[in-house]
């Protein structure tokens, strides 16, 4: 199989515009007769479903949630990037493109990333028009802040709830289309298989999660917008329901899984507190604008802190190691996520972790509180304020900027982060890998598209902060509405396929057989316990650092776990009812296969790049060692129960020079 990226010819900067003006269109009278299935209602799914409906297509939209507004995009905190250059600080489409390519450690496709940077500005306009209440300056104009890995302020935000506000914007557009009958919404429906007819994606099989009904849905094409697979690690910042099932079922029908080992470990999350832990909570990267990351210099201080005899506040300035500022003076606390996470791991591996488990570092706001306090006092005309006054004023400024995050931290940990430095540790957050797509966001299965986090396309080996929201909305609002026409213009002669076709019947039969198998096993272990064990194997061996010996061992462990799962899992109840254990079982079964593919991909990629750090490939200073001559390609995996097959798409860089990423 040869993977064709289908990137159009032409200059990078004008490619997309030229392509759009020449691409095939579907006339309005034909759009009405064409139906599209969109799976997922996050930023990518809701924006795609709404926009395709606005264009006149008949859309069927599916979510396993009770409402499209619940999708996990809602939890994104920090912001959304756009090359508006409203701050006049030297930003441009090219700079956003370049930052994203560099941030992704040169493992993404130039043309896709440039297009992303181009449409980023339209996203902000669209969201403002929908009523997204972005942060504003006193003059009434939009405000920006900085994020990691870049030197301009291009992040638009809505307090610490940017994802929520953007998703509600997209959700409202979607609801508007539902109200006029242009989108048919299926809540609490889970996609359990993809149906292909004559090699083209023509429908899906779903389970109604309330009554267990297995349904067939057909359309002219299928769009996946089903998010990432971070929950393969069990503990992650993903919502409990996030899963890979829709994407994985598509892979089992022939789509390819690209760069699955590229996982983003986010540096600032609340540390694990116990074995019952069900998920991890992110503290937005925006906090690194003002928080300073450090650990004590002396092991005796570490000991005293762990024993509860000292707190972070008791450690004098001279005994603190602000290790990001020390190691990366140019970017300091705002280095990209992969770099910040690895540095935290290094500090903890060397024994400097500041909680009982030794897996936490400090994120300290005391300097920022004093700095803002002094500015605030000055602006109030008080030029000789007491320290207490400065602290009080500064605390208010921090509260205005990050209040909801600090509150969340206090709710979870029971500690007041205005008084004591926050304790944070890296956690699985986002997956750059995903279903392989070409420039049109079409997978290698004709008529099957993948958007947002579910595809692999834009972030390479590491995603920059505030770029996930940008990509989800770019794909849904401004890319797929155009590129889908390339496929659908060839379909205007074809009616919506009948769900009585043998392909639908066969797929439904397989779905039923899988469910029956789960319910008939009657083993002794819970789904949750298998998921936890899988997560541990993945975290220990395919997490923040990886090596060939452990990866090989882990592959066998995952295979053994899969065998054990199919022998001994216990699922209560029946199919014909609301049965969360049955739902989870299907998802964990898919994670077990995906996990193995991730391990294989990590084994295959004998280099360190972005979030993928192979211990064998590092510089003397412990920085990632990329091997461009051998690994400048996308690794796309075809599933096979015995030995998944690797397909390669070479990455060509005509516009940027491949350099060693340096944030020093």
């Amino acid at each position: 199989m040869k993977l064709e990226s289908n990137v159009p010819e032409g200059e990078l900067a004008t490619k997309w515009t030229e392509y759009k003006s020449k691409m095939n269109l579907v006339a309005p009278n034909n759009k009405r007769r064409i139906s599209v299935i969109v799976v997922g209602t996050g930023l990518a799914g809701a924006s795609a479903a709404a926009t395709l409906a606005e264009l006149g297509y008949t859309v069927k939209n599916f979510t396993f949630h009770d409402s499209p507004r619940r999708a996990h995009s809602i939890a994104a905190q920090g912001g959304i990037n756009a090359a508006k250059n409203y701050q006049n600080d030297g930003d441009s489409v090219y700079r956003l493109f370049y930052d994203t390519i560099k941030g992704g450690d040169y493992r993404s496709r130039e043309a896709n990333v440039h297009r992303l940077a181009e449409v980023s500005t339209d996203i902000i306009d669209q969201c403002v028009a929908q009523g997204v209440p972005f942060a504003r300056e006193y003059g009434g104009l939009l405000e920006n802040r900085s994020f990691g890995g870049v030197q301009v302020s291009r992040t638009f935000y809505a307090r610490g709830q940017t994802g929520q506000q953007l998703l509600i914007g997209a959700y409202q557009s979607l609801e508007r289309q539902i109200s006029i009958g242009q989108v048919h919404m299926y809540n609490r429906h889970e996609m359990l298989d993809l149906v292909t007819v004559d090699g083209k994606a023509r429908g899906i099989i779903t389970r109604n999660l309330i009554n267990g009904e297995i349904e067939r849905h057909s359309a002219h094409c299928v769009v996946l917008a089903t998010g990432g697979y971070g929950n393969v690690f069990y503990l992650s910042t993903n919502a409990m329901g996030c899963n890979v099932t829709a994407a994985w079922k598509s892979v089992k029908r022939g789509a390819l899984m690209a760069n699955p080992c590229f996982t983003q470990i986010h540096p600032t999350c609340i540390p694990v507190s116990g074995t019952y832990q069900s998920k991890l909570t992110l503290m937005s990267e925006s906090l690194r604008n003002d928080g300073r990351v450090w650990v004590p210099k002396k092991l005796e201080d570490v000991k005293a802190i762990r024993e509860g005899n000292k707190t972070g506040n008791d450690i004098p300035e001279s005994d603190r190691d602000y290790y990001l500022e020390r190691r990366y003076p140019a970017f300091g606390n705002l280095v990209p996520r992969d770099v910040a996470s690895r540095a935290a791991k290094t500090a903890c591996d060397e024994g400097f972790g500041v909680n009982k488990s030794g897996l936490a570092v400090y994120l300290d706001f005391s300097d920022a509180i004093m700095r803002y306090g002094r500015i605030e006092a000055n602006s109030q005309g008080d030029h000789n304020p007491s320290d207490a006054k400065v602290k009080e004023l500064g605390t208010k400024v921090i509260e205005n900027k990050y209040g909801n995050l600090f509150e969340m931290y206090e709710k979870i940990t029971g500690e007041n982060p205005y008084k004591l430095p926050m304790k944070i540790y890296p956690a699985v957050h986002y997956t750059m890998g995903g279903v392989w797509v070409d420039y049109n966001l079409e997978t290698n299965v004709p008529g099957l598209f993948a958007l947002g986090e579910s595809n692999f396309s834009d972030h390479g080996a590491n995603r920059l902060g505030a770029s996930a929201l940008m990509q989800g909305l770019a794909d849904g609002y401004f890319v797929i509405p155009y590129t889908i026409g390339q496929f659908l213009s060839g379909e205007i002669q074809n009616p919506v396929p009948s769900t009585d076709l043998p392909e639908f019947e066969a797929a439904e039969k397989e779905v039923r057989a899988r469910i029956d198998k789960f319910l008939s096993m009657k083993g002794n272990q819970t789904v949750e316990s298998f998921h936890r064990r899988l997560g541990l194997i993945m975290w220990d061996n395919c997490g923040m650092s990886r090596n060939a010996v452990d990866l090989k061992k882990a592959r066998q462990q995952v295979r053994d776990l899969r065998d054990e799962f199919y022998k001994d899992v216990f699922i209560p109840g029946t199919n014909e009812e609301f049965n969360p254990e049955l739902e989870k079982a299907g998802r964990v079964a898919d994670f077990l296969e995906l996990g193995e593919t991730m391990i294989l991909d990590a084994l295959n990629r004998e280099e360190s790049c972005g979030g993928h750090f192979r211990e064998e490939y590092q510089t003397e200073e412990g920085e990632a060692l990329r091997r461009d001559d051998e690994f400048t390609y996308v690794a796309a995996w075809e599933w096979d129960d015995k030995e998944p097959k690797l397909h390669k798409e070479e990455l060509k860089f005509d516009n940027v020079e491949l350099k060693t990423r340096s944030y020093k």
Partner: protein, 246 residues
């Protein structure tokens, strides 16, 4: 800590339900939902049927989790969703009663899970700004006063969980509906359709079986995002004005 749980069990929307009692061992660092995870693992160990409850993000933003805990939607803490409630706010030996949202417009699906699709239908009635993708002008061409943007934002933080309805003796959805009416209506972009929006949303709210507002204010007290009662007053004003104009 050892706890006694009285949990509402109901097979489906047609069956009648009842309380069942369970013992569970928890630690103070657990979240309330993690405590229920432990209970469910215990039940599964004994081949029983776990308690169904809605949950997803577990960080207080998706609005999926519900639960009336000791008679209070989302439990005892102000401004806190059930998923953000931690067991350190309970004591060893406590008995905790856990029920689903109780409201005519939220039928029970199973155990503690209810159907809140009526909320989506209220939004469908007008909780949007009619702008198609690609029709927008430059973001900075619509300056909005910082205070107005903040007020709109405060209303927009509603997570659509339904605690306001569960808290209200009348089962009213006034806080939810008015939050959306305020979020959009305060902004210049949303003013154009405001009259039509407020009338249609209020009518849909009534059609869905939600009750009326009698100024009790429990909705605001139990709202995990502390949405203000002012929104209800604003909606009432705008509703009457729109009706008179029409």
């Amino acid at each position: 800590m050892n706890l006694t749980l009285k949990v509402w069990r109901q097979k489906n929307d047609k069956a009648s339900g009842k309380f069942e009692e369970y013992q569970v061992e928890a630690t103070e660092h657990m979240s309330f939902l993690e405590m229920l995870d432990v209970l469910n693992e215990d039940i599964l160990e004994n081949k029983g049927e776990p308690v169904a409850f809605d949950h997803d993000c577990r960080e207080g933003i998706c609005g999926t989790c519900s639960l009336t805990i000791n008679g209070r939607p989302h439990g005892p803490n102000r401004g806190t969703t059930t998923c953000q409630l931690h067991m350190r706010h309970f004591n060893d030996g406590d008995t905790i009663t856990i029920e689903p949202w109780r409201a005519e417009a939220f039928p029970v699906v199973k155990d503690l899970v209810v159907d809140r699709s009526s909320f989506d239908r209220i939004i469908q009635a007008g909780g949007f700004i009619s702008v198609n993708t690609g029709q927008a002008v430059d973001g900075n061409s619509i300056p909005i006063e910082k205070e107005i943007a903040a007020e709109s934002f405060d209303a927009a933080t509603c997570i659509g969980c339904g605690a306001c309805v569960a808290a209200c003796p009348n089962g009213a959805a006034m806080l939810f509906t008015s939050a959306k009416v305020s979020h959009l209506g305060l902004l210049p972009q949303g003013k154009v359709e405001q009259d039509k929006r407020v009338v249609k949303m209020v009518e849909t709210m009534d059609d869905e079986g939600f009750g009326n507002c009698t100024n009790i204010g429990a909705c605001h007290v139990e709202c995990p995002k502390e949405i203000k009662l002012e929104n209800i007053a604003r909606m009432n004003r705008q509703y009457f004005a729109a009706k008179i104009k029409a």
